[in-house]
Symmetry: D2
Subunit: 383 residues, 4 copies
């Protein structure tokens, strides 16, 4: 299943960073959806390198073509194929150290897995692979918003040692996040983050950080018991992003330090005043909410109507300009110093990728739930 995921909203990505191009096929997009291609292009543009001084100078427009499944802007119900041609595939930059395993890259693991190695850079391990996911994920976002009102917003929550308080006061929209180049909507933190990135860049070094996510208006009932718990599927989606090494849902690791009485989220009837971001129950099941949200909107693996909150860890980019020790394909000790592109911090570009994989996961859970219980869909769909 390596490059295909999803039960009903199934996505298959293809393409190497330095081959003809990258893309994705979505099988399972319902028919009759009006597709906003500008929003898809916006997410691809938010993801692409070369957006400013903080990013890699690889400058590609990442303009996409739809190869199938759409007629006059409306989905046909058949597979939708997205394709983006590579226009700046400087394979040569990579040739220089083609026989050296770059530290903390996938060079060695790919070589020993496939018994075969090409001078085409990271191949499928490249963050460029995520282009297909971003297109398919934004399509999912549009369906989720049109039919349920769901909105997913991610932001840069920390860079290196610079943390921010955004998790306690999350942004309401993508626009709010994008008002700041580093995509942290808390200005004092953002300024410190920019300094951290610039210092790393000057040093030929890189920095990691964390991404925060909030999903508004998730109706209760998404996710399934046991293996398709919503947290489980979300974590798989997030950990499949290059460089992601950690995942928290709701209170996460810090919640482990609380006692049950401090951690439990207490239910309250909705009336008279339902909370913002909360959805009412289906007929026969009362409309309630919790007074706190340490569960992060998920209980027993199923959404409970409160906003979903996640936090993800991204390691510092493995590519740095400093000279490093390593080993070549002959097994000899050697050193390398990266030329080519150098992105000191991928966090701002990871924001739309994270949104996309979250939306892909929710979309699949939504289709599964309306198969299992169309009465639920009748109650929660937007009119």
């Amino acid at each position: 299943m390596s490059s295909t995921t999803g039960t009903l909203y199934k996505i298959t990505t293809f393409g190497e960073s330095h081959g003809p191009g990258v893309g994705a096929v979505v099988d399972g997009c319902p028919a009759g959806i009006k597709i906003d291609t500008h929003r898809i292009q916006r997410q691809l543009t938010r993801r692409r390198p070369g957006q400013g001084k903080l990013s890699t100078p690889r400058n590609e427009a990442d303009e996409f073509e739809i190869l199938s499944g759409v007629y006059e802007g409306i989905s046909l119900g058949t597979p939708i194929a997205f394709f983006v041609r590579n226009t700046n595939a400087k394979g040569n930059d990579y040739m220089r150290w083609a026989d050296i395993y770059r530290p903390s890259h996938a060079d060695y693991t790919y070589h020993i897995k496939y018994g075969y190695r090409t001078p085409l850079g990271g191949g499928r391990a490249s963050v460029r692979e995520t282009i297909g996911r971003v297109a398919a994920g934004e399509l999912a976002a549009q369906i989720l918003e049109q039919e349920l009102g769901i909105r997913t917003v991610a932001w840069v929550n920390s860079i290196g040692k610079v943390d921010s308080p955004v998790m306690d006061n999350p942004p309401q929209s993508i626009d709010e996040v994008d008002q700041v180049e580093v995509r942290c909507p808390h200005l004092p933190s953002a300024e410190a983050m920019v300094k951290e990135i610039e210092a790393a860049k000057l040093d030929g070094n890189s920095v990691g950080g964390t991404i925060g996510v909030i999903v508004y208006n998730v109706p209760p009932g998404l996710g399934d018991p046991v293996f398709d718990k919503l947290e489980a599927d979300l974590s798989r989606a997030c950990l499949s992003i290059p460089a992601c090494k950690g995942f928290e849902s709701g209170s996460g690791f810090s919640g482990t330090r609380l006692r049950g009485s401090e951690h439990n989220d207490i239910f309250e009837p909705d009336s008279p005043a339902p909370e913002p971001g909360h959805r009412p129950g289906i007929e026969g099941v009362p409309q309630i909410h919790t007074t706190t949200n340490r569960s992060g909107g998920i209980q027993g693996g199923i959404s409970n109507g409160m906003p979903i909150t996640l936090r993800l860890a991204f390691k510092p980019t493995a590519t740095i300009k400093k000279r490093q020790d390593s080993v070549n394909e002959a097994g000899e000790a050697t050193t390398l110093r990266a030329g080519g592109r150098h992105d000191p911090c991928v966090l701002p570009r990871a924001v739309p990728i994270v949104e996309s994989v979250v939306n892909l996961t929710l979309m699949d859970a939504y289709l599964r739930q309306r198969a299992a219980r169309p009465e639920w869909w009748q109650r929660f769909k937007k009119h």
Copy 2:
């Protein structure tokens, strides 16, 4: 896919905590495997409640029956069904608050998802569901050990605010972990943890904590690019355990605070002295290792031959003996106070569950890799 997972080593679990019983069917276990049923029973016994003063008094032997797929202790290559009858299904204890949604339980989310609710307690959300996974996971563990030498060891790494230094000096075996009742192999920490649990119990309260995991002798090459990255599949497996709210691989969240030059794992040739826990490369690919292991044994989603290291967050048990506010099925504010069983801390019992889901994930990756590249299997299988 809710109750089925895996591509080639496929497991389906079934059963409610208060119905006739719980079990699992494994489809894809290779033929000819000699099965050690005592080890399966040992893991079930490690998982079961009522093991000591730290656990719930629900006392079930959890003796399993194999319904199919095994003849004279040898696997036939056909589906293996495990079944454990419920012998102590005190549904009545739960009847008392059957119409109240217990805080931070799955009562409300199940009700709104299915439109249907039974007085059978947590049903599939119960940790009792994991019995089938533990049996199937121990079977996987035996195959992984016989064929590749892989050994998975988990332990309690923290309880509430009591942390331990075990992650820096992980245990070598399950036996080492089990020498301490609380399953933390650092005695001073273990003593403080017991006090923490006993204090919570006395208070009618509960505590959470973290579980550490190390996997020894993982050959390089397990896991796949993109959606089946080893970290992605491991995180999904772990987050599908009840109460798990966080996942870290390798340096995890703390690694986000480092610069690339501090975080990268430097490769070194194996000779003259290969590291313990490291496996050599296939023909044509040199035998190397890293001098540090911030990657946690996984690079680009694929194992690199170093030990896999994980850390998981478990929230405090939602069931407490204190009176709590809540809402009933009619939507009216009310209060409840749990009778029935009360497990102040599930962490020690979660240890074998975590080992099982890790082994299930590795087993599936192993079968996928030997399909993709049987030459790899020829090189890494134990003779």
Copy 3:
């Protein structure tokens, strides 16, 4: 996926003919379904051997137990496990030729596939494996009938060289079929069939035949383009029944001899008089039917509202009482003569099996369609 099938109504079967028992787990049965266990038992009883002089004397009641997923006769939405214990597992009968490969049985292919062989008779190749499918398929039948009015009826259409004209005048109900022991509802044909079976039995021989199927009240819109065409999924389901070697949909092989103008089914508006067995269209799509049904109710892989018609070929049972040449596990030429049970004709017992696999296939298509287009469900569900 060997023993698991289905995307949303997923069934996993387990068990050998001579082990502890056989069963199935259904994952994906919607919640709130009232289950008629008597009808499940009826189908199991129709399937079981020892029903009369035409069948094998292996006499097992095949009483089933539900291990999970049902409370007070209502489905919970969680996996439903069915189990039937083997009570008459005469492994010894099989021991006599345990080292000989029986002609046209799976002995040799299983041996070379698994590298391992047990004296447990046919194992998974036994028709006894279908017990789980029959239980799960009857459950599907009940849901399809309750929600859409769909009814599947199969019958014995030919035995050996004795053909019948039933395909032109198919039975309306299972009861109509069961009025005749051989399950062919055309009495003159049935009498000739019984003679054919008795002659074969007297000769220590066996006979094959064909099964006809009609499905009434299938709404238009079930099945998907390309790989999940309804005919494709139905053929896979039918060919997975032991001894099935051929499949036809609608006009099948005989239709290949017609010209397009003779074969095409002409559409007609429904009004004033809609055909029986025809379902009207969704809003905005007119209500039409075809004047003939050479398409067998399926066009472009999708049901068109006309009855689905299928015809299946079953080879003569491989087990005969005559002495046959063969080869043993040492590769030496030898002969064998079967003792043990001997069923000269499995066709009458195959009738409920065929109904079950057809219903399993339709059920999965139904859940997929209501996921893809719940508006369709709103129009076609029974009120």
Copy 4:
């Protein structure tokens, strides 16, 4: 799973007959395979329309581009995307009857399924969709031939009422089949077939027919019990080809008229003279063959080392030039007479499509078997 199939050699097709193009993504092609692109082009050319006077005049070169997964002619182990641009997409021809449901086409069923209809002709129901399968299937054919020696050959076995005796003396190679334009390697039959097609064409009519298939050198052990029986998976693959309405394996329907003693295939030791097209057993399992092949190379759903033989029914093309009654989207009775392209017989073009879907099925079974039992692969792989 509509447009994705396969467990390990997974193919996803996309594209409409009148959109930008059609293609496929193969996920699971092993790394290091040398790909013969000329052979892929040859199969695409054999499949394309406009090959001679017998076929539709739609004349497209069907030149394919590989978008990913291949470097310097060698597979990388990553997804391989094939794409063919539509160059002759005369959507306008179809516009004339855009609001009429063409008889025995998928117009009505697609409309009622999706609630949405476009003037783009048959869309996914078009035989043009099979382009991606042909490319992916030929890639599979090359791997199967390189690694196991397997060769799949299909031919036109009958056209309308003109039958041929080829099934009794099947062709040895694709080249042998292609020596005759109508792809029936028995010249007298071929001549009569051409007359049948020309007569139908002159009449503005169409003809159906049957395709025969033989697969040489299939090692014993491919296919799995229960749901992935080789016949079951082959039938699903074949019935997913447009216009296919019937499937037989081995003796098929005619075998139902035989007694067991006439039908059983008797085993014989291989020595001294193994049969051509037969593969020897693995170590410990003797080398045997059957003296007849009514099983069609498959017993218990698993290949037995004898050639696999299949026969498929294709209905006459639904598009004819004669005026036909029908109904329009408003539900009114009307008539239509097709303009546009008209292919009086698709059988010759279906030959490479059938070969492709058979090879796709065998390839997936091969990868599954080497996962389950790499020792089997060691024995049967070509050195």
